[in-house]
């Protein structure tokens, strides 16, 4: 048998292959040769063969038949063999292979080998890919080597210990004694790996963290860092004039963990952080890497405000750096700190907005996210201009998020209704096909509520779809508005701008075009058909035309359209006397949030046909009138019913519960529909609101309002905390926190509230429905109260929950609202 060819020769040969097929042939030939060589149990050439196998593996070819051979190489006494054997193990033998465990004994022996380079190989392999079992078996050996005076081995043992701890966290304790002297080393390799080990321990275990704080780790680290900065040039560790930046960065990171939430530690590191922040050379990436880590640390610990401002200013300077990598990390960091240090970040707003024009996609995305975080009541006009321009010119992958962000920001901070409508229009026309489908119901509701803008809105929407009706969300909103306000359109009543001359036929033309067009989605067609139907009560001359269109679609292939058309036909024929009432103008909608998935909006035109089947239809007026008759809350005859959010397990009974709350009376029949049409909150808005729970709701917050305990009985305590906005003083936001001091959990907890008529109330989804026992957790829920007349706030609350196996229920009045919450 001729000697197997050398590795380099094989590589050369394979590289001469001109096609994939040729390469595959060579590989197969060589693999066959290697296989037979393995079968011969030839010790001499095993190393060479495995090396070749590893090369072929890298090209993507299977090499599993070499796994056992790697083990044999590891077991060999020759260093060459071990080197390749361990390399092969690391490449071919991950912990999922059965063969993996067979390595354990070899590694154990090699950890105790007389040659440090062999020990090094074993430590390296164990530290890179040792399984949990291996780590358990060999942790003792690693611990021993952690205490050796040989710095070459000590540094490897430290990182090996890190891997062991990651795989088997329970073993962390055994490495603790060895850490005592680790930082006394002069050797930078040991120092670096020791800091990594300490970091891993502190991150994983609060006990360890407390221990290391106690044994004065912080002063020790500060001293080492100081030496690095102050010491003169050390050629061995110098990188562009900075001494051992890798070690500096790791120390800063460990300091971050030690200083987090700990005043004493934070104070002890204050000076060194300031020193590093001001003295580090910023001309090269390496200096900026250190500054970056320093900024992250400053922002995360309990640093004094001067230091924080220094940190944000560093980030501000980063934003102006030519190096786009630096700009990128600056934006990322600013995004993390914008909630806590909002005003400081605001100062850099114009630079951030400039980054919207950057060429790099990642930078643009971050700049966009940050811009949205910075929009507030004061800068909304200017920011929106920039963001709309960005929406116009950005890549398609951004448009959906940008549009959603603009809607959210516009809703929160719109300076006027007209501006709000205009902004929405702008988004719909520039990015109309990227707007999320669930934004449509929200927009419709918004438009409904801007009563004085109806004529203007419908006119603008009409003009928008005249030229192009391919953008579905735009067409849906436009169709709905035209159906609703078509009468305003043809009568030319617009105040805000020059009214256009439109005839009823022209309006029907456009709606019919939408119906016919191939580009229209099924949902869009539904909108158009319903709109046409609604116009039958708003238009005077074209009712016959409408009748004709509706009857045609009675035989449409699209089932949805067909059903609608048939029902609308019925409206024309048998139920013609009800048609005007049914198709009446939509009332202002209550904003309701639901816990469940988004539901398609149901306009009056759509829900009514379903009602026809059951009983004589109600008047188009709010069934709330019925509810009002039954109410006698707080001694007043009129109360605004509130739809509480309940867990999705009981949506159907929402109406019944509500009336129970307000009168504890039995009703003979459930109301025909919920007091207001259920408008589902689109997810993005809900996300925004949910996000708002965790961040300050308004960017300008009035001075702290004292919180109150609204209810405290049977172990259930409910506290109210308040927030009000400077920009909208009629709104008070109440966050309720429900806690449970008994020894058993309270489950299925539902909180409901009602307020007097002059108020409006919105209840958002609760954080959960279980209040854990022993005050170990709370349920939070946000209530928004609109109090335009600044009347004294009063509230009646109803609590239902399960406790100790029985259903509990209680009613209470809350009268102790602090004056600052409503005056």
């Amino acid at each position: 048998m001729p000697a197997p060819i050398r590795l380099r020769e094989l590589i050369r040969t394979i590289r001469t292959a001109r096609t994939q097929a040729e390469e595959r042939e060579m590989i197969q030939k060589e693999c066959a040769a290697i296989r037979s060589s393995f079968r011969e149990e030839d010790n001499t050439y095993r190393c060479r063969n495995v090396a070749k196998l590893l090369y072929m593996h890298m090209l993507g070819y299977p090499a599993h038949f070499g796994q056992l051979e790697c083990l044999k190489l590891i077991a060999s006494q020759k260093f060459t063999d071990k080197r390749i054997g361990y390399l092969g193990a690391m490449l071919l033998l991950d912990e999922r292979q059965d063969v993996h465990l067979l390595m354990t004994n070899c590694i154990k022996n090699d950890l105790n080998h007389s040659t440090q380079y062999v020990q090094g190989l074993a430590l390296c392999t164990l530290g890179c890919m040792g399984s949990s079992e291996m780590c358990r078996d060999l942790a003792g050996e690693v611990e021993k080597l952690l205490k050796t005076s040989n710095s070459y081995l000590r540094k490897k043992a430290a990182l090996c210990a890190v891997h062991v701890i990651r795989k088997v966290p329970e073993l962390m304790e055994m490495f603790l004694p060895a850490t005592k002297n680790l930082l006394n080393e002069k050797n930078h390799g040991v120092l670096h790996t020791s800091v990594v080990l300490l970091t891993e321990m502190c991150e994983r275990s609060p006990d360890m963290l407390a221990h290391f704080r106690k044994v004065s780790l912080v002063p020790q680290l500060v001293r080492i860092l100081k030496n690095l900065i102050m010491s003169g040039y050390s050629p061995e560790h110098d990188v562009s004039g900075i001494s051992d930046p890798f070690l500096q960065v790791r120390i800063l990171r460990l300091l971050r963990i030690l200083g987090r939430n700990d005043d004493d530690s934070s104070e002890a590191m204050n000076d060194i952080l300031a020193q590093v922040a001001t003295n580090t050379e910023t001309s090269k990436n390496v200096g900026n890497a250190i500054l970056y880590e320093t900024v992250l640390t400053i922002m995360d610990i309990k640093s004094e405000s001067g230091l924080r401002v220094l940190a944000i200013n560093i980030l501000g300077r980063f934003l102006l750096n030519n190096d786009k990598n630096i700009r990128y990390v600056a934006l990322t960091s600013l995004l993390k700190t914008v909630q806590t240090d909002h005003n400081a970040v605001q100062r850099h707003r114009s630079t951030i907005v400039d980054c919207l024009k950057d060429l790099d996609v990642s930078i643009k995305r971050r700049a966009m996210e940050l811009s949205f975080a910075l929009v507030n009541g004061n800068n909304v006009r200017g920011m929106m201009k920039e963001l709309l321009y960005f929406l116009d010119s950005c890549e398609p992958e951004f448009k959906a998020d940008c549009a959603s962000g603009i809607f959210l920001a516009a809703e929160k901070y719109a300076p006027s209704k007209r501006w709000h409508i205009d902004t929405i229009m702008r988004v719909l026309t520039t990015a109309g096909s990227y707007v999320r489908d669930d934004a449509v119901p929200n927009l419709i509701q918004l438009i409904t509520n801007s009563v004085e803008m109806h004529a203007y809105t419908v006119q603008r929407l009409y003009k928008a779809i005249l030229g192009d009706y391919s953008q579905q969300p735009l067409v849906q909103v436009a169709s709905w508005c035209i159906g609703e306000y078509g009468d305003l359109l043809v009568s030319g009543q617009c105040e805000e701008e020059e009214p256009i001359q439109v005839t009823e036929d022209e309006v029907l033309d456009i709606l019919e075009s939408v119906l016919i067009s191939n580009m229209s989605a099924s949902v869009t067609r539904g909108y158009a058909l319903t709109a046409i139907m609604k116009l039958s009560t708003r238009f005077t001359c074209t009712v016959n035309r409408i009748k004709k269109v509706v009857s045609i679609y009675g035989s449409s292939i699209d089932v949805e359209l067909q059903q609608r058309a048939v029902e609308y036909n019925a409206l024309f024929k048998k139920y013609d006397h009800m048609r005007p009432a049914l198709l009446e103008r939509m009332p202002v909608m209550e904003k309701v949030t639901t816990n469940g998935p988004t539901e398609i909006v149901q306009t009056n035109g759509e829900t009514e046909p379903a009602v026809l089947e059951t009983k004589p239809p109600p008047s188009g007026l709010q069934p709330a009138n019925q509810a009002n008759d039954l109410l006698d809350l707080l001694g007043e005859t009129d109360v605004t019913p509130v739809i509480p959010t309940a867990p999705t397990s009981k949506p159907a009974s929402a109406g019944g519960e509500l009336l129970d709350l307000l009168g504890d009376l039995n009703l003979t029949g459930s109301p025909v529909s919920a007091p207001a049409p259920q408008i589902a909150q689109p997810p993005f808005l809900l996300d925004g609101l949910a996000a708002m729970d965790s961040q300050p709701l308004f960017n300008d917050i009035a001075a702290g309002i004292p919180s109150i305990t609204a209810y405290n009985k049977n172990g259930l305590k409910i506290d109210f905390t308040f927030e009000r906005s400077n920009t909208n003083p009629s709104v008070t936001v109440i966050t309720i926190q429900a806690s449970n001091s008994t020894e058993l959990d309270m489950t299925d907890f539902v909180f409901q509230a009602a307020v007097p008529k002059t108020f409006q109330l919105q209840l958002l989804s609760p954080s959960s429905s279980v209040i854990p026992a022993f005050n170990s957790g709370t349920i939070t829920q946000v209530i928004k109260v609109l109090n335009p007349q600044k009347q004294q706030l009063r509230m009646r609350i109803k609590l239902t929950y399960n406790h100790k196996g029985s259903a509990m229920q209680d009613l209470a009045e809350v009268n102790n609202f602090p004056p600052q919450s409503w005056q």
Partner: protein, 157 residues
């Protein structure tokens, strides 16, 4: 660091170091997708990108070779660039003005050097001199060990 990949402009893998346990199939999938993503980047873009739930730091060198690292959320991107830079310096010093062919024909050496610089995804030695010294000594040991008892010297390569 979770893994490091070196690949050519044509997408051919030159080195792969994985610090997390994944099956061969998963590794291949990740490699294929990530290589595609990085190769699609334009020269003006920054060296960082978000990919799945990882941060990717990459550097293009010698016009044809990409060094690509996947780091975790708490890791510092800028210092990772320095890590890549340091590794290149080590290769450069070892091979004497390194080029892609050196790494192709001596891939096992590239791994050995990497394993003296990083361990388990973390930097184990911050001194260039010490890393190179260790490699030098290990190479020497390898030379010596080639002589088997029969006196016949077998070269691996």
């Amino acid at each position: 660091m979770q893994f490091m990949l070196l690949f050519s402009r044509q997408g051919k893998l030159r080195l792969q170091k994985w610090y997390v346990p994944l099956s061969d199939k998963e590794k291949k999938k990740i490699t294929r997708e990530l290589v595609q993503t990085v190769l699609a980047r334009k020269p003006k873009m920054c060296s960082f990108l978000e990919w799945r739930d990882l941060k990717i730091v990459y550097k293009r060198l010698y016009a044809s070779l990409y060094f690509c690292c996947a780091i975790e959320d708490q890791d510092n991107e800028l210092i990772t660039l320095e890590i890549i830079h340091r590794y290149v310096e080590l290769l450069d010093k070892y091979f004497g003005s390194v080029c892609e062919l050196d790494i192709i024909f001596n891939f096992e050496k590239a791994y050995f050097i990497l394993d003296e610089f990083l361990l388990g995804g973390e930097v184990q030695e911050t001194s260039k001199k010490n890393v190179l010294k260790a490699i030098e000594q290990a190479d020497l040991l390898q030379e010596v060990s080639k002589f088997s008892f029969s006196g016949q010297s077998i070269s691996m390569t």
